[in-house]
């Protein structure tokens, strides 16, 4: 019997603004790859406010709606004895390109870098609605161990009420790592 093989997915051409296209070209990221992984373009937020100030004094910016809901959510968590903090919020397209350049300079291949970082233009952090959440108790930020914290359990149960959802569960279709710390606010989910 003849074995048939599934056709490889044919990427459809993607549409993206000239600024993004130029950055992708300079990083040698092919638009086919973006189409094949079904990555979503996230335009930079137009209006940002300070949602929280980190222990290091860093200002974490979100859209006004996301910031308001974050404050409500973190206060609600705290009233239940659970500390949730923002480790990272809005990030510009240029900053994302810098991050990728730095990783390439460390000798990682583009393939490897794109498993852990979004191409510029395609990070949810550009939207001003995405946050990387940390907690207290000595849990390293941006590590899968975050899943075992009270903060994660609290978010899993309650974040939906505030319009926040986990963006990258295990085996997500975009090919990113499972990111239990990465949550995104969508007004329609409230």
């Amino acid at each position: 019997m003849r074995k048939t093989r599934a056709n490889p997915r044919t990427p459809t051409p993607i549409e993206c603004p000239e600024q993004i296209r130029a950055l992708l070209t300079s990083l040698e990221i092919s638009t086919d790859l973006i189409a094949a992984r079904s990555l979503v373009l996230h335009p930079e937020a137009q209006e940002l406010v300070v949602a929280a100030i980190g222990d290091d004094g860093r200002e974490h910016m979100l859209t006004p709606a996301a910031a308001a809901k974050w404050r409500e959510m973190s206060a609600s968590a705290l009233s239940g004895g659970v500390v949730i903090k923002i480790g990272s919020a809005f990030r510009s397209v240029d900053r994302q390109a810098e991050i990728i350049r730095a990783k390439l300079a460390e000798g990682l291949s583009l393939d490897a870098v794109l498993c852990v970082s979004a191409p510029p233009g395609y990070s949810e952090h550009h939207s001003g609605r995405a946050i990387d959440v940390t907690t207290d108790g000595g849990v390293a930020p941006l590590e899968p161990e975050f899943e075992k914290t009270r903060a994660f359990r609290w978010l899993s149960k309650n974040a939906g009420q505030f319009g926040f959802a986990l963006s990258y569960p295990a085996d997500n279709p975009y090919g990113y790592d499972y990111e239990p710390w990465h949550w995104c606010f969508s007004p329609t989910q409230v």
Partner: protein, 87 residues
């Protein structure tokens, strides 16, 4: 997340040409891209300055005393680590 251990050995006739660096770099890229390795560690003999320099060039840094204990590093050896940051 997966743990990978790699070791390398290169004939002294080929030292000084950047071959070890290229080989280890390629191996790391493969482990990160296709095996979900995000945390790298390397154990070397204290005083092996060539290896230490190579690992530093590859983005590794000396681990904390606590990490040395956790990895059961023997006296006379050093632990160097590199995390692939998800961002």
């Amino acid at each position: 997340m997966f743990l990978a251990t790699i070791a390398y050995e290169l004939s002294s006739a080929y030292w000084g040409r950047g071959l070890a660096r290229q080989a280890v770099e390629a191996m790391i890229a493969e482990l990160v891209a296709h095996y979900r390795v995000r945390s790298l560690s390397s154990v070397l003999k204290r005083g092996n300055f060539r290896s230490m320099r190579l690992l530093e060039r590859l983005g590794f840094s000396l681990a904390s005393p606590e990490q040395h204990v956790k990895h059961q590093v023997e006296p006379g050896e050093l632990l160097m680590v590199r995390e692939i940051q998800r961002i």
